[in-house]
């Protein structure tokens, strides 16, 4: 559900009015809500149940001996993943600097992205069922490059709205060409 309309495309005149900029001072690294762990855990458990269910079904209905082992393996891997979930969620961090948004996440596969505000094409806020129950939302920052895709998950709803408005304002004041 795209809630933030893309700011109207305007011909950029190359003149940036430095005086009127909404100021974004460096926020330092911010973490997403700890409640987001629950969203991830529920997602993992649901996924696990589905696959384990399929494997068990194959075992009992089709009498495939090995399906039991598959089910066990899936369950173990998922449970290990769930055990690491709090650590993974803690690794999700974002930071608003003067001219760009920094985002990083991951323990095994670490990724850090810097997106200039002026490159923003649109901001998207999405909320899954579990996240909605917890009052959380995902904020997606989209640029013209598909690979930029920065999604900050697990923000409290009010914070996500505030951040969206702030990002739109920042992008507007620092608008660059495509």
């Amino acid at each position: 559900m795209p809630e933030a309309p893309a700011p109207e495309l305007q011909p950029e005149d190359g003149v940036h009015d430095e005086a009127g900029l909404p100021e974004a001072s460096d926020t330092g690294w911010l973490r997403v809500s700890p409640k987001y762990v629950l969203v991830e855990v529920v997602g993992s458990i649901v996924g696990m149940l589905i696959f384990v269910g399929i494997a068990l079904g194959a075992h009992f209905l089709l009498h495939w001996e090995w399906a039991l082992w598959v089910a066990g393996a899936i369950a173990v891997v998922s449970l290990v993943g769930i055990a690491f979930e709090p650590r993974r969620v803690r690794s999700i961090q974002y930071r608003l600097r003067a001219d760009d948004l920094l985002f990083r996440r991951g323990i095994m596969f670490q990724r850090q992205v810097a997106v200039p505000y002026g490159r923003m094409q649109l901001v998207d806020i999405t909320r899954g069922p579990v996240a909605r129950a917890l009052g959380l939302a995902d904020l997606k920052f989209v640029t013209a490059a598909a690979s930029s895709a920065v999604t900050v998950p697990g923000l409290p709803m009010a914070e996500a709205d505030r951040l969206r408005d702030e990002l739109v304002a920042l992008a507007e004041s620092r608008r660059a060409g495509l």
Partner: protein, 621 residues
């Protein structure tokens, strides 16, 4: 728009009024397909039709037919013609056919009638559709490129297809088809409007230039190029008078040439209009090299694999192989063939309004990439090309890539195959702002390794992950362009103008972390080029990440190349001055006359919009 001087009926299509396309457009767009389908159906039904006629007109030979008679009556799906004839519905069928043809013709006419476009100072707008009307409007300052294509049939009609690409999925504005000369003139007009140069100004400058260009070639030092802004009007007025005179002459001489001669001339004319672009392409592509490079290209490997599979399949009696792989083989051959034909008569040249690339022998096309639209450039060398020193150059531009259909993919190839010297020249065209600085890095980037040329050095432990290419992997940054060198089997040199880089990412996987390495990715708009610096030292990668992120912001803020005409450096005006008469020439005198009036109505055009530090007005572009 008065019809004072319209050589070959040329009008100015960029005057803000609604215009229609070439009357043959529907036929060219859909009609040929219709005819082809009809031909296909007839060809397929030919045997059956002959049999039926035999059955009707020569009953004595119809003995075998009788046996099938009952079958025909039932089998409508497979044999509609048989069904129609045997059920005595021939008259109805002919009537239906006539109705279909009439509907199609009326549809064509209506679609032509309803398909209009206009070019204003802000946007290109197209209205089309009969039942479902659509009105598409593309902002001029968002134009990413203009392509003029002339498929073979369209060329026979003397028409061309103009395609304006803007950033966005399937957001292109197509004007198919326009008169050939009109399309060229319209492209020049759209580019001029998009450049940010005010139309009045451009017209004001264009008039004296155009007049000089056609009356006296020696008078190239046009009065329109003097330093004083106010001086524009007077020569413009003079030129308007002069144009009246030339306008009288031109149609006569134009009419003298018969239509056929004109078509032949158009056919033989170089793809790059010598009036619009410097006549000499900076790259010459010999046909031997085109064929050789295609034969030695990567697709050859696939061709060999396919042929091997088919041969093995057939000899071992697996006939299903034929059905699954022969179409692939046909596709591959047609790809190679189109690669060769599209590379024929290839030319690339810089114009004041961007890089112009032309290609094609029978179906020709050319594309204009305005300044500041190139998001990434990559020169690659496939291993078989190495003995010959061949390179190909591809680019990322916004708005044409994700669904890489053959045509769109073709457009991202800027140089199909060329030598290192050609790569130098093409890069200088594509990255004009940083040409001199990049120039020094190119040779080291194409074939060098280690720290040659100032590239960052990859540590030896990276050989665990990149055993062959680790010595070549490196990044250098100069004048706002990030240059990434990598690849041993397929050598590659990617250049990303930081002013258009979308974001930068640094990622570390588990193995990389064990080796204290990291991968740096420069995100640009989607396209064939991906700028990745793999297995860099982690500290170096982190430093580069910070530097590039910072530099990208700086460069983007100071970049004005997307409005290349509005920001006029004094020396730029001087540089492009020789191009001025050429630039204005195709815009026939007809457009110059009202332009001159407009410039008088709004004098002195240069002064109002130009930045304060500008000493000379911008008359050209």
């Amino acid at each position: 728009m008065s019809g004072v001087a319209r050589p070959q009926g040329v009008v100015n299509l960029a005057d803000g009024e609604w215009h229609r396309l070439h009357p043959a457009s529907p036929l060219l767009r859909g009609g040929l397909v219709f005819i082809a389908v009809l031909g296909f159906i007839i060809a397929n039904l030919r045997e059956r039709v002959i049999e039926i006629f035999l059955a009707i007109f020569a009953p004595e030979s119809s003995a075998p037919i009788d046996a099938e008679y009952g079958e025909w009556q039932q089998d409508w799906a497979n044999d509609p013609v048989g069904g129609i004839v045997m059920n005595g519905l021939v008259g109805w069928a002919l009537l239906a056919l006539a109705a279909i043809i009439i509907t199609v013709v009326i549809g064509f006419w209506l679609s032509w009638r309803m398909h209009t476009f206009r070019v204003t100072h802000e946007a290109v707008e197209v209205r089309s559709g009969i039942l479902f009307r659509s009105h598409r409007s593309a902002r001029l300052d968002r134009i990413q490129g203009i392509n003029v294509n002339r498929p073979l049939f369209a060329r026979l009609f003397g028409t061309a297809k103009l395609e304006i690409s803007v950033a966005g999925q399937s957001a292109n504005v197509q004007l198919a088809y326009l008169g050939s000369t009109l399309a060229d003139a319209l492209r020049a007009d759209v580019l001029r409007l998009a450049s940010g140069a005010r139309a009045e100004r451009a017209h004001g400058a264009a008039v004296p230039a155009a007049a000089d260009g056609r009356t006296d070639a020696s008078a190239l030092v046009s009065p329109g190029l003097v330093a004083e802004p106010g001086a524009v009007q007077e020569p413009a007025a003079e030129a308007a008078g002069a144009d009246g005179a030339t306008g009288q002459r031109t149609p006569v001489s134009a009419r003298a040439g018969a239509l056929v001669t004109q078509r032949v001339d158009e056919f033989l004319a170089p793809e790059l209009d010598p009036d619009l672009a410097p006549p000499e392409s900076v790259v010459h592509l010999p046909i031997g090299r085109v064929i050789g490079s295609t034969v030695l290209g990567g697709s050859t490997i696939w061709a060999i694999i396919l042929v091997a599979i088919i041969v093995v399949g057939v000899t071992s009696g697996q006939m299903w192989v034929l059905f699954s792989f022969v179409p692939a083989a046909i596709g591959l051959v047609s790809y190679m063939w189109s690669r060769i034909t599209k590379s024929l008569r290839y030319s690339i040249a810089g114009t004041p309004d961007g890089v112009r690339i032309g290609h094609g022998l029978l179906s020709t096309g050319n594309q204009t990439i305005p300044p500041g639209r190139v998001h990434a450039v990559e020169a690659t060398q496939w291993v078989f090309w190495r003995p010959f020193g061949w390179w190909s150059v591809r680019i990322n531009v916004a708005g044409q890539s994700v669904s890489a259909s053959g045509d769109a993919a073709q457009r991202t190839i800027v140089l199909p195959v060329g030598t290192a010297a050609d790569v130098h020249r093409v890069l200088a065209l594509l990255l004009p702002d940083a040409a001199a600085e990049v120039e020094t890095l190119v040779d080291a980037g194409l074939v060098g390794r280690g720290d040659a040329g100032g590239f960052s050095v990859t540590p030896k432990r990276a050989a665990w992950l990149r055993p062959f290419s680790w010595k070549r992997i490196g990044l250098a940054e100069t004048a706002g362009v990030a240059v990434i060198r990598r690849g041993a089997l397929i050598r590659s040199l990617s250049l990303v103008p930081l002013a258009r880089m979308q974001s930068v990412a640094r990622s570390v996987g588990p193995i990389e972390r064990a080796l204290d390495l990291a991968t740096l990715r420069l995100h640009t708009v989607t396209g064939p080029v991906s700028a990745v610096l793999p297995v860099a030292d982690r500290a170096v990668a982190t430093a580069l990440f910070e530097r590039l992120a910072h530099e990208a912001i700086e460069r983007a803020a100071s970049d004005t190349s997307h409005h290349w005409g509005a920001a006029a450096a004094p020396d730029a005006a001087a540089e492009t001055a020789p191009g001025a008469p050429a630039e204005a020439a195709p815009g026939a005198p007809a457009e110059a006359v009202p332009g001159a009036t407009a410039s008088r109505a709004e004098p002195p055009a240069g002064a109002s919009a130009a930045p304060a530090d500008e000493t000379e007005p911008r008359h050209v572009v």
